[in-house]
Amino acid sequence: MNPVITGAGAVCALGRSSNEFYRRLLAGESSIRPFTPEERGSLQATHVARYDGFSPQPEIPAMKARRLDRGSQFAILACSQAVAEAGYDVSKSPESVGIALGTGSAGAGALTEFLRVLILESPEAAPPFHFPNTVANAPASQVSIELKLFGPNVTITQKDPSGLNAVLFSSLAISSGRARAMLAGAVDEWNAVYAMGFDQVGALRGAKRASGIVQGEGGFAVLLESEADARARNVRPLARLAGIGTAGVPTEPYRFAPDQRAIARAIRGALSAAGAEPRDVHLWLPSANGVVEMDEAEEAVTRELFGGAPTATIAVKAAIGEMAAAGGAQIVAACRAIADPDGPFPPDAQPRRALVNSFGAGGNFFSAVFESVA
């Protein structure tokens, strides 16, 4: 019943396709850079991972791009790549193809601009064309309009596990018959006003704080469908979603709960759903994002569960920064690694299994296991 992934897309500073993103990730490149003085202003944060020089062309014509916010542009590109790689003809049955995206910031640009004019000038002066893009569901909806998807369409915001939530929602949509195929992923845009808020509440790493995140941005998507459908289309899947585990810890929405039992519960849940033991996992895509107590707890649980650590590690957030969409980036990286014949797996690993962890503030813990398809 577990769906397979037949296509992936990525749009971020480290690559404008899932293959380029994955290759540069494996090569150890990072898009984290110091703020320019103008960007930094009064922030104590020192670094950021923005997608400098991003242009939606040539895929999105300039005229059309003008009415799309940055997050929607990322989403349209990433989702189009996933559909293209999967070779999926959406027009055959548009009502059976849907989308679920996670995000922590979608709409931020339109929201801050609309409010800026409303506050500094007047409510009547606030530009109406910005308002529809202030909603977090703008990117997923713009994708549905662009790709003509009539199936399920949702957007999920749940801290770091937003992207894994989107994958879980999608897998339920497929198993319950709501959709034959789902685009699942995550998108975030960097925004100066949001950065100021995150900085002032102590979330960002910088001159005054050794523990905290560096913010990134980008769009990431995979196409999920049933294995039977993929086979019927004669498409070889990149990977299978083998299982997802979740755990919650009751805590304030913005506090970190480095609760080792919850972390273990999320990972064990994913392993158990995958019918796998820790020794069957070879690649680890940790949640680690620079929040020291959380990273230490994850490391401790992983060492305990796996008797050391899985054979290989890909630290996605060290390369592209942290955001709700980073979970989407981890999923794309995991699937590319599993499908890559030279990927970071021991030669006898069969099937190849990767663990993706996505842990956030507010006591939110999701883990997922992806595996190769024979």
Binding site: E95, G98, I99, T103, G104, L111, F114, L115, R116, L118, I119, L120, S122, P123, E124, A126, P127, P128, F131, P132, V135, A136, N137, A138, A140, S141, S144, I145, L147, K148, F150, G151, P152, N153, V154, T155, I156, T157, Q158, N165, L168, F169, L172, A173, S176, G177, R178, V193, G197, V201, G248, V249, P250, T251, E252, P253, Y254, G362, G363, N364
Partner: protein
């Protein structure tokens, strides 16, 4: 499709402009009480319109003074509604496994009202207390509900604008049916803010007077705020622990219009697709539908498109059954609307009484169904639909019925 695990409703909680408990809300709905009044939460004098369905007294006495300071208005309303719903459901964490109880809510404005004040100070170069932005993201309420009531299961916040709460209920349903949880606290809490008030005004979608769904002279929506919380449970789980079952969540449909960011497909084809998907999911024939709790925003476009959608999906049955919009009383509660309307729908099924569409005077040839004008009606209901349509063409329809 049919599934092994059925999902029932065992608790309801409501905080609205016409009642801050479920029973007060329900009585006033049946009485046709209008909660749309002059807005007092912030200065509305510079906006095109000055009315809203505002909650005047949040029942949050159970929170400490420090909690109230820390929390957003949406948090306090959401917690009050969750407290009422959980008390009715009677889940007991000394016996019920907290890791099997999730929280999946629809979110939107969340702490935006506070963030707007901080942003205003920043824009004027003045310092602001940064802790006021801590509740900005819509997932704050979900975490707060889990924190307050000690729930350790799956957590998620759906942010699909005006269909958020409906989709949250759908995700909760799939999570329970898919055996990821035994119970889920679902619904949503959404409050007035300058962004949404100014936004709908900038689109010229707001009626300066209380809104008039389906009326020929309708001129737009009235913005409202509410928290609506429902406790969903796997049916056998609820029966084993002796819970009172209020109704069954039979299924839902969720689709994309893929049409336009703000305008509905006027032909009703998109809305019709969603209703058909919901009926198919629930295993219900159009002829079995006894009532529709309409999205009924009172914008000229929505109400005629929704009417066309109902006729296309339900055929002749659309003309035989009551269709009402409680937004005429509580306004459009945006990301919470699907939840508060589902609560009204559960109560309609349970009691066989249909709340009216008030302010209805002038029939519109493009809206030619029975909208239950101005007076509640006794009407036996076994199966009912509740529609939610949102910006981005995010459409969702839930099917609720008697548990039998």
């Amino acid at each position: 499709m049919t599934r092994g695990r059925r999902v029932v409703v065992t608790g309801l909680g409501a905080v609205t402009s016409i009642g801050t408990t479920v029973s007060e809300f329900w009585e006033n709905l049946l009485e046709g009480v209008c909660g749309i009044r002059p807005l007092s939460l912030f200065d509305a004098s510079a906006y095109r319109t000055q009315t809203a369905a505002e909650v005047l007294d949040i029942p949050d006495d159970f929170l400490s003074a420090a909690d109230k300071r820390r929390m957003s208005r949406a948090d306090r309303m959401g917690l009050a509604a969750a407290r009422e719903a959980l008390a009715q459901a009677g889940l007991d964490l000394s016996r019920d496994d907290p890791t099997r109880i999730g929280v999946i809510l629809g979110g939107g404005t969340s702490g935006l009202l506070d963030s707007e004040e901080v942003y205003e100070k920043w824009l004027h170069g003045r310092p602001a207390r940064p802790s006021r932005v801590l509740n900005h993201l819509p997932d704050a309420i979900t975490d707060r509900v889990a924190q307050r009531f000690g729930l350790e299961g799956i957590k998620s916040t759906i942010t699909t604008a005006c269909s958020s709460a409906a989709n949250a209920m759908g995700y909760a349903y799939d999570a329970i049916a898919g055996n990821l949880a035994d119970a889920v606290v679902t619904g949503g809490s959404d409050v007035l803010a300058r962004l949404t008030y100014g936004g709908f005004n900038s689109l010229r979608s707001v009626d300066p007077d209380p809104c008039r769904p389906f009326d020929r002279e309708r001129r737009g929506l009235s913005i409202g705020e509410a928290a609506g919380i429902l406790v969903f449970e796997e049916a056998e789980y609820a029966r084993r622990r002796g819970a009172t079952i209020l109704g069954e969540f039979l299924g839902y449909g969720v689709t994309s219009d893929a049409f336009h960011m703000t305008a509905p497909d006027p032909s009703g084809a998109a809305g019709g697709r969603t209703i058909r998907a919901a009926l198919e999911d629930a295993g219900v024939d159009p002829a079995d539908v006894d009532y529709v709790n309409a999205h009924g925003t009172a914008t000229p476009q929505n109400d005629s498109a929704e009417t066309a959608a109902l006729k296309s999906a339900l055929g002749d049955r659309a003309r035989e059954i009551p269709v009402s919009s409680i937004k005429s009383m509580i306004g459009h509660c945006l990301c919470a609307s699907g939840a508060i309307e589902a609560i009204a729908t559960v109560l309609t099924v349970r009691e066989g009484r249909v709340p009216p569409t008030i302010h209805y005077e002038n029939p519109d040839p493009a809206c030619d169904l029975d909208y239950v004008p101005n007076e509640a009606r006794e009407w036996p209901v076994r199966v009912a639909l509740s529609n939610s349509f949102a910006f981005g063409g995010n459409s969702s329809v839930v099917v609720l019925g008697r548990y039998e």
